[in-house]
């Protein structure tokens, strides 16, 4: 029990004292049990007052401190630091919020606000009387980061971490790196091709001693937590040994009799069962074993083929994990704007691959394309459907592509059916260029969507154009391009393995979009790129850098300090019913043997002190450090006026 407490009540300029009579509060608490000194102050957080507090603690040998001021979100750390400077353990500090919960909330009732402030401060005093000195939990943190996903966000993050001297394991499920960007031709604003960007990143990764790149590799489970993640990674073989040259490759590809739709080209072309896409790295072919018939044709012309290679599982350890698993392009439903029902209706990604593959003439299904209708926001901004969000990249991408089409092929006309263009920032320049060049933009609302139909063998797109007084306007294009948005990966294995929660949009969720934009509620796991939500290339790269820095800060010192405010189990009381294990949202509770008795044990580096396990324990064997029953009850008594 503490006996010499210091209490400071802040005016906050006038933010508090305009509504709360702080002198009255001081007078009401100065005779509370244990209070040694009680003062009011204009700004508790000012340097002068902080110094005064340090001095008061030191000269009077105070053993506890309460500051009644603003929200602990703002200044808890400030005043904890004050106690530390005065050689008092920081857990002997208790914060009372009389601004957000007092003066601001009750500006219409000064007396009531003052009364409430008195109770809040009394409760804080009651709590600090019972407070104990605590030491932060220190755990070792392995200086290594695992990055899941070698798209541009992951690749960029890997390079950044390597530069900072941190060993990185970059895990890519596909056999090639670069993700979506490897599929794109010229990009705005840099005018480089996606392949150029990927090849540059790949070369840097290849030349870095700190980065281990695993392709065809999949995380299958995790046994650790922050500071010490232990991942099982399954690596699929390419069925190719040693490197071989392009000539040989061409020969093998030629003899392979199997043809399957080429996902690199979004199925607008086919590929063989042995393949190597032009813009993808490593420049090392792979045999698609699912579709390979083991006919043996390739083995006849090439002795690098080796079907005896086996899948292997390795363990990788890291202090932090950076997730950059990317997105899936939205696939329209059958019949959505004629998709899969009317010929010559394709998606924007397919169209982008198509123009990359066409040379002198723009052909689709053997027919020349002279006019194109782009239908925007397909799969995005659905007020009724699942994807309420704007996919952000697609307006710019569609306009950029339509400009590219006009540059590459002669006499093409573009018609854009939009729901309001969102080319934010510099991307607006593209919109301007496109309009000036004579592209036609029409617009409708979601309630009154446009119609794609066929009339006499011709496609017809009809819209009630709000820019022309809702007049029905029709275009008969040769090709309809559905400007599809982006959706979260359908493969949810990563979110299951790490219990990584998604937001309302089903993308991975950061803790706070502005204040903690790359951290997740799972300690030690950061997120980057489009797995977090729609982003363009630049934004993905930036978030990669940001996540890399955050992950680095977690592993850099080799040791982590965690809050000691966590749950603890009274092993004598525990009967291992397992209820707490089920209640814990962070997977922090496991069963252990204590002699021949089964009891619950808390993983100190994972427990966040949320308290979810406390009420479910039938024998009350769990205590939350610093929020014990005794402490909470004494606070309630004070608040209820019984103290």
């Amino acid at each position: 029990m503490k006996k010499k407490l210091g209490v400071y009540i802040c005016h906050c300029g006038g933010n508090i004292s305009d509504y709360i009579d702080v002198e009255k509060v001081r007078a009401a608490i100065e005779n509370e049990e244990g209070v040694f000194l009680a003062k009011t102050t204009m700004f508790a957080c000012s340097d002068a007052t902080q110094k005064e507090m340090v001095q008061d603690i030191e000269t009077n040998d105070l053993d506890g401190l309460v500051v009644a001021s603003c929200s602990p979100k703002l200044h808890l750390i400030t005043f904890r630091a004050v106690t530390e400077r005065a050689q008092l353990n920081k857990y002997n500090y208790v914060h009372a919020n009389i601004r957000e919960q007092g003066s601001w909330a009750h500006s219409d009732d000064k007396e009531g606000a003052t009364e409430k402030a008195v109770q809040l401060v009394k409760a804080a005093v009651a709590k600090v009387r019972l407070s104990k000195s605590l030491e932060p939990i220190k755990i070792p943190s392995k200086k290594a980061v695992v990055i899941i996903g070698a798209g541009i966000a992951g690749m960029r993050a890997a390079i950044e971490l390597a530069h900072m001297g941190c060993p990185v394991t970059l895990i890519e499920r596909d056999h090639f790196t670069g993700g979506r960007v490897a599929q794109w031709d010229i990009l705005f604003t840099s005018d480089q091709t996606g392949r150029e960007i990927v090849s540059r990143l790949y070369n840097e990764i290849n030349n870095s001693k700190n980065i281990t790149l695993l392709t065809g590799a999949e995380v299958i489970s995790n046994k650790g937590s922050i500071g010490n993640f232990r991942l099982q990674v399954k690596i699929k073989p390419r069925y190719i040994k040693d490197h071989f040259d392009d000539d040989k490759l061409k020969k093998v590809i030629a003899v392979c009799p199997v043809e399957v739709p080429d996902e690199y080209n979004f199925n607008v072309t086919n590929r063989k069962a042995i393949y190597q896409n032009p813009g993808q790295y490593p420049k090392y072919p792979v045999i698609d074993i699912k579709n390979c018939t083991r006919c043996g044709e390739c083995e006849k012309v090439c002795d690098n083929i080796d079907f005896s290679l086996k899948e292997e599982v390795i363990e990788v350890e890291a202090g932090s994990i950076l997730v950059a698993t990317g997105f899936d392009p939205y696939i329209p439903q059958d019949g959505e704007f004629g998709y899969n029902e009317i010929d010559n209706v394709i998606t924007l990604p397919q169209f982008k691959r198509l123009i990359d593959l066409c040379h002198n003439d723009l052909l689709f299904n053997g027919k020349a394309i002279k006019s194109i209708a782009y239908i925007y926001c397909v799969g995005s901004r659905q007020s009724e459907g699942e994807n309420k969000y704007c996919s952000r990249y697609c307006c710019t991408s569609a306009i950029h592509t339509s400009i590219q089409v006009k540059k590459n092929f002669k006499n093409v006309k573009n018609f854009h059916f939009t729901r309001g263009i969102r080319t934010y920032g510099k991307q607006e320049l593209l919109y301007y260029e496109s309009q000036k060049d004579g592209d036609i933009y029409l617009q409708s609302y979601e309630e009154n969507p446009l119609m794609v139909s066929t009339e006499n063998g011709k496609i017809c797109v009809k819209i009630n154009d709000i820019l022309t007084g809702n007049r029905e306007i029709s275009v008969e294009p040769d090709l309809v391009v559905l400007v599809t948005g982006i959706v979260p990966r359908s493969d949810t294995s990563i979110s299951q393995i790490f219990k990584l929660p998604g937001g309302r949009d089903r993308f991975f969720n950061e803790i706070h979009p502005k204040l903690r934009p790359v951290e997740t509620v799972i300690d030690g796991i950061t997120i980057a790129g489009t797995c977090q939500g729609p982003k363009n290339v630049t934004e993905s790269l930036n978030s990669g850098l940001s996540a890399a820095t955050k992950s680095f800060s977690l592993v850099n010192k080799g040791e982590l300090e965690l809050e000691p405010i966590i749950a603890e189990i009274d092993k004598n009381k525990c009967t291992w019913c397992g209820e707490c294990e089920k209640a814990c949202p962070f997977d922090a509770i496991r069963m252990v043997k204590q002699g021949d008795k089964d009891v619950a044990a808390i993983n100190n580096s994972v427990c966040k002190g949320c308290g979810m396990c406390l009420p479910v324990c039938p024998v009350n064997a769990i205590n939350l450090i610093s929020y014990s029953d005794k402490e909470i009850e004494s606070m309630i008594d004070s608040l209820a006026g019984k103290g």
Binding site: Y432, T468, R471
Partner: protein, 347 residues
């Protein structure tokens, strides 16, 4: 259901419009235009129709004529889509639509064609003078007769049928029902607008330009009246002679001010000049000036030895009467007044 015609824009650019495709339909232009009203909202709508190439809607629209080119819209357009110049180009295009001969369009779009026409007329005048041995009094007599015939001929063969066509596009084709009495009631508006262009006063800060314009119309009509009906060049009446001097001075000084504005390019209206604009303004100046000098030479007895001077005047006059009046910018004056008239009739 309406189809888009992207070729229309290309055609329209030959009448001077440019960059109007850049319009993103923000509506700023319509908001700043002091002449646009809720019932007659422009110029954004005209921009939109032009971009989509909705020719039929444009042909039947009076809105281009409701604009007096103050240029506010162009100043404030965030996309530099030049709505003011588009409205001007639509007026030129409409003139070519109304004109049954098709010559207006040709002359607007092709400077070589215009030049050829001008040269042809000059050649005819010179050839005729040569054929009468440059007998000044005969030439002057013919000149005067020509003026009368030209006025009657141009009006009845070209302008009247064109006005009827305009009426057809605006009222008959879209099947707008109007009681006959409206045609009579609106006549007063026709006269007022023709002489005063009073609607232009609705534009901001436009008083000076409106006044210049008003004086010019008076001067021009006065010059027409004195030369054709009072036969200024052959008159002995001091009143007629002095009046001729005054009106011709008005014509060439006001037009010189306009030329100066176009060269300076300070205001939106004078920034983008098409050949047809220059032609109009220069020929009008030249007409006033040459008439003035001819009469001065007559009064000082110098003309007999400077026959060429009258020939120059006659050539300018013939070109004016046969090209600029029926097919050129002069018709703005006529169609605009009738546009106001029809607007009154249907509203």
């Amino acid at each position: 259901m309406t189809a888009i015609n992207t070729d229309f824009g290309k055609d329209l650019s030959k009448y001077g419009a440019f960059d109007f495709n850049a319009c993103y339909n923000c509506g700023t232009c319509t908001a700043v235009c002091t002449l646009s009203t809720e019932e007659d909202s422009f110029p954004r709508e005209m921009q939109r129709f032009s971009v989509l190439g909705l020719e039929d809607d444009l042909k039947g629209s009076l809105k281009p004529w409701l604009c007096y080119y103050c240029g506010q819209c162009t100043t404030y357009c965030p996309q530099n889509a030049n709505p003011g110049e588009l409205m001007m180009s639509l007026r030129r295009w409409l003139i070519s639509v109304y004109d049954w001969t098709g010559l207006s369009g040709l002359l607007y779009k092709s400077l070589p064609a215009t030049t050829a026409g001008m040269i042809l007329i000059a050649a005819v005048v010179l050839f005729y003078s040569f054929s009468v041995d440059f007998d000044l009094s005969r030439i002057m007599h013919t000149g005067h007769t020509f003026e009368i015939i030209a006025i009657v001929g141009v009006f009845s063969i070209i302008l009247l049928p064109n006005l009827i066509r305009m009426w057809w596009f605006i009222i008959l084709k879209p099947r707008i029902q109007v009681p006959v009495i409206n045609y009579l009631k609106a006549l007063w508006d026709l006269i007022v607008h023709m002489f005063t262009q009073k609607r232009a006063l609705g534009c901001d800060d436009n008083e000076l330009r409106w006044f210049e314009h008003f004086i010019l119309v008076l001067g021009y009509l006065g010059l027409l009246f004195t030369t054709v009906f009072l036969n200024w060049f052959s008159s002995d009446s001091v009143f007629v002679i002095v009046m001729g001097y005054i009106v011709s001075i008005i014509v060439f000084t006001v037009t010189l001010i306009f030329v100066y504005d176009r060269i300076r390019k300070k205001d939106e209206i004078s920034k983008y000049s098409q050949p047809s604009d220059w032609l109009f303004i220069i020929w009008l100046t030249a007409m006033g000036l040459s008439a003035f000098i001819v009469r001065l030479f007559i009064d000082t007895g110098l003309l007999e030895n400077n026959k060429w001077l009258y020939l120059v005047h006659l050539i300018i006059l013939a070109q004016w009467a046969l090209i600029i009046v029926p097919f050129g910018k002069w018709t703005h004056f006529l169609y605009r007044s009738f546009a106001m008239y029809f607007h009154r009739v249907i509203s």
